[in-house]
Every structure is written in structure tokens, then in C-alpha cells.
């Protein structure tokens, strides 16, 4: 029997772990555990020098087991397994202790958190001692992709994949492609027509033999794993009675491009939306611009316009975030209004002007020169809109405490445009559950890493692009859609997907043949051999849930890499 030689590495993660957990104490506690020959702390274990440290120790100190106490295994288990492979050690001789997401980030008591980190590391050391060498399985990567949502992001992702020659199922809940962008007239800052941007893409999607467009449809179910998902696409019910009828398609990857919903202006009462007839939302103005005529409810042409920024965004009661596109859209309205009604007066009531993108600052300057009246108001003191008197030559009067001049100013308005922000779609939770991804507290889908992995999610093979992840403009949505497609194309190019070598195995010599496991396997992966009267697991069908392992009355089904022996050792470790 080979002697255990375990290396334990405790990551500081900059200050992410070290600011609450005493990493040196964790190292010291681990170094006295049975089998541990090396224990070290390091700034960033996932960095190249961190991984090289493991490789070097494996080679020089003949380590045969490695434990890294760091972030969640969902984040970096793969990274460290690769380091073991580089050093020539079987990658399953590795275990991670999650001392960041489930420890330093959620606790603030330094003493208790350090003890917990020690316990988790001990559990990992005890567990890794029982690990066995396994070989990963290689399965075919299905080259088809499911794209959910037919807006600009979904159309772009679908085209990118189809143009590389791969099949795409594009699912759109409504009866037409285009998404929210189809409701927009011109786009800021270059004043290109949104229709032109879309028509070209929609035509190419429609003509592409590789893209199957499913209109008035939605994803009903998704099963399987990266490279081998099975999606059920059925008729959209729009919140009605759910159905399970539909068409099953096999896909290797999923791109979620479900977009956003605009903020409901009637949730804010003080702007008079719904009461004053000519207080409209930005999308209502878009509809007038698209129709080619801006008019008041009674058919008159308005002369005084007031545009109010940050409706529902950057507020304490509604959404704390900035919706990113409204400032430039507001400037675009000033241009469009003046070109449609040359005698119009446009006032622009803003909190801060966010002009961060390419060409945006220039567009702002241009708008200032075009005599739009910019009035800055305070976040906590909103403008007051009221009906004008019979002597006024306008319908409404707006009182605003102008921040830069410090004066209370009254401006006339015939039409008030509320720049409504973006918010997560009300059914985004359902989508998140279907494809198994996470949402933040505002409902936006969460990326695998906000900076370094912005289109991947914690579920391998499921990507997010566009405004379903956060408010963003067209160029950013397009860039994300293409990024997601690039990630998928890389997977397709490799043709094979490596999957965990975890599946259940029956010790047939000791199987009593009771057949309890046969019935409960969700994949019908367990066969009963009538001749030997024993059950047998078909490893190709087994997905390693372990339900049979827990149910076997003889205790003779073993879950590889999640065996009783390994889990019991971990329990003993964390509790001793």
C-alpha cells in the first residue's frame, strides 16, 4: 500500500479569504493531519505561480493527493485538476474546500470563520485520502445550439453559429423576431435606423438553412449536460396553463438572450403617468416616431417637450442601478423631435448625464449646441409636473429645483417623456430554473465571473448574452452574443466533451438481486441480468445522481468519487 503524501494549499484570494480567515492558522492545523506532508498558504492559488507551486511539490515531494482550500469547486476545481494532470498525477486525487463563497464571504466573526475553514479543510484532507484514480469519459459534443430569445442578441448569436455551419434552434416567445429593438426608431449616437439593423439580420436568419426559427414558442424543459442537452420546445403559453407537448431537440449548448422589460411608469405616481394625458413613456414616444408623427392625445402638435431621466433607475424605491441606455436615448429624442417639429422647445431634466460610450460624449456636446435646455435635478427631489392654467400657452408646467443654478425654475411642457429604465423580465426566474442558472437580487442572470467570464454561467454549456444579464446597449449586447457563440464554436471544434468519470457501479458478487434500484433510476440505466440474478449499471446511461447508492439495502452500489467511504471520511473530518 502506497504511503499517503497529501499537499494542502490555503488560498488568501487577495484579501477575499484572508481578511476574515486566519489562513496561517488553517495551514498550521492542516499540517498536523495524518498524511499531510506539505501545507502552504498563497496569495492566489489559481494564478500561474500558484498552480506551478502544486506541480512542483507533486514532483519534488512525491505528493499523491492534493487539497486546495480556496473558492467554490464550481469555480476552480477544473483549474487545479489540470495542475495535477500536468504533474502526472491522476486528476481525481484532488479535493477542494470551499472557504470563500461558503465561508469568508458569508461570515464576519474571524474566530468562528477560521475554525470553520479548518474544519472544511480537514474534511477535504480526510476525503482525499480515500480518493481513487479515475479516467474521464469522452462523449461527443452535439454541434446544435439552442438560442432562447429572438432579439438583437439572440439573432446575432444564431447567425454567428449558423455561419460557421452549425445548426441552431432559435426560440422566440412572440410571433415575430426583433425583440425590444423592433420597437425603436433611430439608435443613438449615430442615428441609424433600428429597423435597418434588424431587417438585415432577420432576413439572414430566415434564409439560413442552418437556423430553425420557432416562433410563438418557448423552452419547456431542459435535461442533460454540456454537449448533450435535450430541450423540449413547445407553444408559448404566456403565463397560461403549462403544457408539456412540443418537440424534443438535442443541443450541445444553450444561449439565453431573453432580454429585458421596460420599467412600468405607473408605479411612480408623482409624474402623473396615467393621469395627465400627455405624460408618455420613452417607448410610447418611439411608437410615435416610428409612425412618423408626434401628437398629443387630442391630435394637436406639441410645442414644448420635457424629457425626464432615470425613471425607475438610480432610485432607492425602485432600481438602484443605472439603465445605461436612457441618457443617450434622451439626447436622441431631442434630435428626432427637432427634426420632426423644428419650432419645438426641448428641456432635458437629468440627474447626471452618463455619456461613457464611444461617440456618446460627442453626441452630448452636439445636443447642447442644438439648444436643448439641460436642467439638472437632485436624485432626492424630483421635478413636479402639474396642469397649466388657462392663461398659459402650454398644457403642463414643471417645477424643478435646478441644481447647478440653485434656483427653482418653472418650465412649460405639452408633452413629458419619461425615460423608463430596464428591469429583469418578470418570468426570468422560470427561465433561470429551466436552464439552472442564478439570478442576482434584481433578477438579472449571473455570469460565471463578472470580469473574466462574462457570458458563461455556473452551468457548463449554458451562456447568457445581452440585457438578460444587466442593462446594456446594442454594441455590448452584440459583443456578448458573439462572445457566447465563440465559446460554443471552440467547444464544437473539439468535437468531444470530457465528462466526469463519476457513475455508479454494482458489486455484482454481493448484489442480492432485490431490484429496488431498477425502478428508481430516472435514466433506466440499471439492468437486471436474469441469468445471474444481479443488477448492473450501464455506465453510459448513468448520470451519477446516486439515488440507487443511497437506496441499496445491501450497500453494494458504489458511487465513484462520491462513495460512502469518501463522504463518511469527509463527515468525520469536518466534525473531529
Amino acid at each position: 500500500m502506497e504511503e499517503l503524501r497529501i499537499g494542502v494549499y490555503v488560498c488568501n484570494c487577495g484579501t477575499n479569504i484572508a481578511k476574515v480567515v486566519d489562513c496561517d492558522a488553517v495551514v498550521e492545523a492542516a499540517s498536523s493531519l495524518p498524511g499531510v506532508v506539505v501545507a502552504r498558504p498563497y496569495k492566489y492559488m489559481c494564478s500561474t505561480p500558484g498552480q506551478e507551486m502544486i506541480v512542483q511539490d507533486i514532483k519534488e515531494q512525491n505528493l499523491n493527493r492534493v487539497v486546495v482550500a480556496a473558492c467554490s469547486p464550481r469555480m476552480h476545481e477544473r483549474t487545479f485538476r489540470k495542475a495535477l494532470q500536468t504533474a502526472g498525477l491522476n486528476q481525481y486525487f484532488f479535493e477542494m474546500a470551499n472557504i470563500r463563497e461558503q465561508c469568508s464571504w458569508v461570515h464576519d466573526d474571524a474566530e468562528g470563520t477560521t475554525r470553520k475553514a479548518e474544519a472544511l479543510a480537514r474534511g477535504a484532507v480526510y476525503r482525499v485520502a480515500c480518493h481513487e484514480p479515475l479516467e474521464k469519459l469522452s462523449v461527443d459534443m452535439c454541434p446544435s445550439t439552442l438560442v432562447i430569445g429572438g432579439g438583437i442578441a439572440g439573432l446575432t448569436a444564431a447567425l454567428e453559429l449558423a455561419e460557421a455551419g452549425h445548426p441552431v434552434h432559435l426560440v422566440e416567445r412572440t410571433e415575430r423576431l426583433g425583440g425590444n429593438l423592433a420597437r425603436v426608431d433611430l439608435t443613438a449616437p449615430y442615428l441609424d435606423s433600428a429597423t435597418d439593423l434588424l431587417i438585415d439580420r432577420i432576413t439572414r436568419v430566415r434564409e439560413s438553412p442552418a437556423i430553425k426559427v420557432h416562433l410563438s414558442s418557448e423552452l419547456k424543459e431542459l435535461s442533460g449536460f454540456v454537449g448533450n442537452f435535450e430541450a423540449l420546445i413547445g407553444p408559448a403559453t404566456n403565463g397560461g396553463q403549462p403544457t408539456t407537448e412540443g418537440r424534443r431537440v438535442g443541443v450541445g449548448s444553450v444561449v439565453v438572450c431573453t432580454g429585458y422589460k421596460e420599467f412600468d411608469a405607473s408605479r411612480i405616481t408623482h409624474f402623473g403617468y396615467g393621469k395627465l394625458p400627455n405624460v408618455v413613456t420613452s417607448f410610447e414616444l418611439e411608437a410615435m416616431l416610428k409612425a412618423g408623427r408626434i401628437e398629443m392625445k387630442d391630435g394637436r402638435t406639441p410645442q414644448y417637450f420635457a424629457i425626464v431621466h432615470c425613471v425607475g433607475s438610480r432610485s432607492r424605491e425602485f432600481h438602484g442601478y443605472c439603465s445605461r441606455v436612457c441618457c443617450m436615448t434622451a439626447l436622441k429624442y431631442a434630435h428626432e423631435i427637432k427634426s420632426s417639429i423644428p419650432k419645438a422647445y426641448v428641456s432635458d431634466l437629468y440627474i447626471d448625464m452618463h455619456a461613457f460610450g464611444k461617440g456618446h460624449e460627442e453626441f452630448y456636446r452636439q445636443s447642447s449646441e442644438a439648444k436643448t435646455l439641460f436642467l439638472m435635478y437632485d436624485k432626492n427631489e424630483h421635478p413636479v409636473i402639474k396642469r397649466a392654467g388657462p392663461k398659459d400657452d402650454c398644457d403642463m408646467l414643471i417645477e424643478v429645483n435646478e441644481k447647478l443654478s440653485g434656483e427653482v425654475i418653472e418650465i412649460p411642457a405639452d408633452m413629458v417623456i419619461l425615460m423608463v429604465g430596464m428591469e429583469a423580465r418578470p418570468d426570468s426566474g422560470q427561465v433561470a430554473r429551466l436552464v439552472n442558472i442564478s439570478q442576482d437580487k434584481e433578477g438579472w442572470f449571473i455570469e460565471s465571473h463578472p470580469k473574466l467570464d462574462p457570458v458563461a454561467t455556473t452551468t457548463e454549456g449554458v451562456f447568457i448574452a445581452g440585457t438578460c444579464a444587466a442593462p446594456k446597449d446594442i454594441p455590448d449586447s452584440v459583443a456578448q452574443a458573439r462572445a457566447a457563440a465563440a465559446r460554443i464554436l471552440a467547444k464544437i471544434a473539439r468535437q468531444k466533451i470530457e465528462i466526469d468519470a463519476v457513475f455508479a457501479q454494482v458489486d455484482e458478487d454481493h448484489c442480492s438481486g432485490c431490484r429496488v434500484c431498477n425502478e428508481l433510476c430516472p435514466y433506466s440505466a440499471i439492468e437486471f441480468d436474469e441469468k445471474t440474478r444481479h443488477s448492473r449499471v450501464n455506465s453510459a446511461l448513468c448520470k451519477a445522481c446516486g439515488a440507487c447508492v443511497a437506496a441499496c439495502p445491501s450497500g453494494v452500489i458504489k458511487a465513484r468519487h462520491f462513495s460512502d467511504r469518501q463522504i463518511l471520511a469527509q463527515i468525520e473530518g469536518i466534525l473531529s
Partner: protein, 146 residues
């Protein structure tokens, strides 16, 4: 010193472990009494694992899986749902308060729910006091050698 219970949490990889990670990435806070063990599915949690935790020093055991209908393994959590009440009956006959074992559904997007579940369970176990059977079973089996 006040009683700080040790709770072993078996979390399914696909929903609840991810939900617990989300509580971390969202920087939510809860007390450090919970020690988690990642399993593929809540259906993998066997009575042996729960009993082992309760006899080796845990004051309570939390089992979390995907919501019914959302199981990554289709029907894995149905097994859990059937198994846990039986297990609780068994615990009762052994003189262990069945409230020391709790089954909860926590999805990958429910970081806040994970925190609520944990905080509520810690409060309940603090009220129940230390697990009387912990340490009763002196299984000195240390880490298995190769």
C-alpha cells in the same frame, strides 16, 4: 459560553450548493455553524450518512435539494422526499429529536432562501440544545489509507 451548534449540510451540486455559493457572491451573512458537504443529488443522501453525522459530533443535519420538479436528475429529490420522513421516524425510535434533521428545497437562484433556511435552523437547534447522542458512538476509524 453559549451553545454553538454544529450543523452538517448535505447540498446537492446543481441547485442548493450553487444557491449557497450565490449567498456568498451576493455577500449575504449567516453564522458559521453550518459545514457543507457537496453531493450530486439530495437523493444520494443515505440514512448512513445522516446517522454518521449525528453520532460523530453534529447537532443537526440539513439536507437541501432542488425544488420538486426541478431536480437535475429528474426524480432524485422524490426519493429524498420519501426517505427523510422515514428516517425521522427511525430517529424518533432511537430517542433522537426528529427536528434535528431538516429537508429544504433551495434552487440555484435562491441565495437569500439558503440564508433564511440556515438561520432558522440554527435558531431551532439552539433551542433544542446539544445533540444528546453525539460522540456516543466512538468510531475511531480515521482517514482510510490507500
Amino acid at each position: 459560553m453559549s451553545f454553538e451548534p454544529k450543523i452538517v449540510a448535505f447540498l446537492c451540486n446543481w441547485c442548493s450548493y450553487t444557491g449557497a455559493d450565490l449567498a456568498g457572491t451576493s455577500r449575504m451573512h449567516y453564522p458559521p455553524n453550518v459545514l457543507s458537504i457537496r453531493v450530486n443529488c439530495s437523493g444520494r443522501v443515505s440514512p448512513l450518512m445522516v446517522m454518521s453525522a449525528l453520532t460523530k459530533g453534529a447537532d443537526a443535519v440539513l439536507i437541501c435539494g432542488c425544488h420538486i420538479g426541478d431536480c437535475h436528475y429528474v426524480t432524485g429529490n422524490w426519493q429524498t422526499e420519501k426517505r427523510v420522513p422515514l428516517l425521522k421516524k427511525g430517529l424518533e425510535s432511537l430517542g433522537i429529536d426528529p427536528r434535528r434533521v431538516r429537508l429544504e428545497w433551495v434552487s440555484a437562484s435562491e441565495g437569500a432562501r439558503f440564508v433564511e433556511v440556515v438561520e432558522d435552523f440554527i435558531t431551532e437547534i439552539k433551542r433544542l440544545g446539544p445533540n444528546p447522542v453525539k460522540g456516543a458512538h466512538h468510531d475511531r476509524r480515521t482517514a482510510c489509507s490507500l
